[in-house]
């Protein structure tokens, strides 16, 4: 009897230590799922909210030009303390929240991780430069971390079903498209290996830009855009900014672009489309993708059409 009880205890002990979260820095072994998480990228915040375990703190500040919670996620972020911006999160604010785990970006927080590790164990994923597949794998790992693996799997299954539905809208003969984020000072191409590029490839729309020098995202000028000459151009902008493409559009070269001639220059919110990168963002993007007619290769119209500046 006693030996049986002991065996049970040992077994349950093993079971308790069975949470294994594998990430870019190694594997984190846990006995119980964690409840207090600090998320340093929007995709982690999105994922945790989708899983029903919102983080205690997140890098949602607007210091140093960071842009805060993307609009699609704004009213779902309740009771999450800001720990500053993603680039320079406040270590003090993180420490005060007493997190059990900090989720960081492998690339963005590379130099900060040793300091973060002195506060709590760090789990690092490639969010900023990750592909759609990378981000989906992270959903599973984060699900495991907070003890919601089943929900994570369900989220991904639902997402697969949605992807299939969306894919049915895709015009298989549509030419490759170019995706780019435009800020007041830069035009950054998101290649086929970026989050948004690989998501569109999954939906059957080829991306014109491939990674260059191992960069999934890189800047080009108007000349570079003309050289690429996409048949469909998708620009991601912010409504509170005057993106560089508005001044480019005044150059006669702009109207020479195949996409401009074919009326296929689309404009979407850059915060919603390129910053969220989680299951909730994907749901939002899929809805706009279908609604805008981008998948079907229809000419851009209404709110989704590029706003040409008045001279």
């Amino acid at each position: 009897m006693i030996s049986r009880l002991l065996a049970l205890l040992v077994l349950s002990g093993l079971a308790l230590a069975q949470i294994q979260v594998s990430h870019d820095l190694g594997t984190l072994s846990l006995e119980t799922p964690v409840k207090r998480v600090v998320a340093l990228e929007y995709s982690f915040l999105d994922t945790l909210i989708a899983l029903g375990v919102p983080p205690v703190g997140a890098a949602i500040g607007t210091q140093g030009g960071d842009r805060g919670v993307p609009p699609y996620l704004r009213n779902r972020v309740v009771g999450v303390t800001s720990v500053g911006s993603r680039a320079v999160p406040s270590l003090e604010a993180i420490l005060a929240l007493q997190p059990q785990v900090i989720i960081a970006d492998t690339f963005v927080h590379k130099d900060l991780i040793p300091q973060l590790q002195r506060i709590a164990p760090v789990v690092a994923f490639s969010s900023r430069r990750g592909s759609f597949d990378d981000l989906n794998k992270q959903v599973l790992e984060i699900g495991r971390l907070v003890g919601r693996e089943a929900q994570a799997q369900k989220l991904l299954q639902d997402q697969e079903r949605l992807l299939l539905k969306a894919r049915a809208f895709t015009n298989p003969k549509a030419p490759p498209l170019l995706l780019a984020v435009a800020t007041p000072g830069s035009f950054t191409v998101h290649s086929s290996e970026s989050f948004i590029g690989s998501l569109l490839e999954r939906l059957g729309r080829k991306s014109l830009a491939k990674p260059q020098n191992n960069q999934t995202q890189y800047q080009v000028g108007l000349e570079g855009l003309v050289a690429l000459n996409p048949a469909t151009l998708v620009v991601f902008t912010a409504p509170d900014e005057t993106p560089i493409v508005r001044s480019w559009a005044r150059n006669p070269l702009w109207s020479r672009l195949e996409a401009a001639r074919q009326g296929r220059v689309y404009e979407f919110d850059r915060d919603n489309w390129t910053r969220g990168r989680g299951p909730l963002a994907t749901r939002f993007i899929l809805a706009e993708l279908i609604d805008s007619g981008l998948l079907a290769d229809k000419p851009a119209s209404g709110a989704y059409s590029f706003k040409i500046p008045t001279p």
Binding site: Q219, E223, N251
Partner: protein
């Protein structure tokens, strides 16, 4: 000054320098995201036929090349004048804190006086430059004016003003978002609009510098000699300093701070044509323009398609040159 030897006959030097300028200018227009052969560039410059390449040449590369050439000429001449007036071979707008002062003034204007008209930027930049130069002088005066002390004070004031500029950029992020340049100096994406901002200041100032070159010759002989020869030293110094700072301010207002170009170019010019400022000033303009065009070209090509700020590239060559000049001076002393 340091250089007295002449390496080649002046006429030949000028021909070669002009050849270099034309070549760099055409090369800057030829190379980019799509390379346009030099003979086609030549044809398109004079007979734009409405093709994509013609539009690329006329709306993108030509204005950028003109801006680069003007900025280079302004900084080269500003450096030559400052070195002549102060008889200090380490003088130049970057090292003397003038560029940093100009940047800070532009940012202060942008943040606190957003209503100022765009044409006033050059004046604002020049005022900032004057302020910084005055500060550097007054700091050095109290401990005795030597070239190295002046350069040290200039670099210190420059860093301080640079820090203040960074502060404004971060704190007033919303208002400084529209600022044209980064703190590392670049001519990427400059258009005809910027050519027209620069041209009305740069061209008259460059011509005036040529006219003043004889007076700078006299100043460079030393104050007493100049006075003995009937020069109104204070007036000449005031006018030429203002002009040098205006040239630097004009360059900064479209390209941001580009250091060391104004240091290297006059030294090269003096090495080629000797210490006569009537030769050094025009040659500094030509060499400055060429160096700026070639550096901008390299900055575009190093990490294609990414644009490296040209200011960083020039600092990479210029900083060792500063050490070289300072060491030569030490040996001579």
């Amino acid at each position: 000054m340091i250089y007295s030897r002449r390496l080649a006959p002046t006429l030949l030097v000028y021909l070669l320098a002009l050849g270099l300028l034309v070549f760099s200018f055409l090369l800057a227009i030829s190379l980019g995201a799509a390379n346009i052969p030099l003979d086609e560039v030549w044809r398109l410059l004079f007979h734009p036929e409405g093709s994509n390449n013609a539009l690329i040449v006329h709306t993108l590369r030509l204005p950028r090349a003109i801006v680069a050439a003007l900025v280079g000429a302004c900084l080269g001449v500003a450096g030559a004048m400052m070195q002549g007036i102060t008889r200090n071979p380490l003088s130049e707008p970057g090292i003397m804190g003038v560029n940093a002062g100009a940047v800070l003034a532009i940012l202060v204007a942008l943040v606190f006086f957003p209503g100022l008209p765009p044409w006033s930027t050059v004046v604002v930049a020049a005022l900032g430059g004057v302020g910084a130069a005055a500060l550097v002088y007054s700091i050095t005066l109290s401990v005795g004016l030597t070239p190295v002390r002046l350069a040290l004070a200039g670099i210190a004031v420059g860093s301080m003003l640079g820090a203040a500029a960074s502060f404004l950029l971060i704190i007033f992020e919303d208002r400084t978002r529209g600022v044209l340049f980064s703190l590392s100096g670049s001519v990427a994406g400059r258009t005809w609009e910027h050519v027209w901002t620069l041209l009305p200041w740069a061209v008259p100032a460059l011509l005036l510098a040529l006219i003043l070159s004889h007076q700078i010759n006299l100043l460079s002989l030393g104050e007493d000699v100049a006075r003995g020869l009937g020069t109104r030293v204070e007036v000449v110094r005031l006018v030429s300093t203002t002009l040098a700072v205006l040239l630097a301010g004009a360059a900064v207002s479209v390209a941001g701070p580009i250091g060391f170009l104004g240091l290297m170019v006059p030294h090269a010019a003096r090495g080629l044509v000797g210490p006569d400022y009537r030769q050094v000033i025009p040659l500094s303009a030509i060499l400055g323009a060429s160096l700026m065009l070639l550096s901008d070209l390299a900055a575009r090509l190093i990490d294609k398609p990414l644009e490296t700020p040209v200011g960083i590239l020039i600092a990479g060559i210029g900083a060792p040159f500063l050490v070289y000049v300072a060491r030569r001076m030490a040996v001579r002393d």
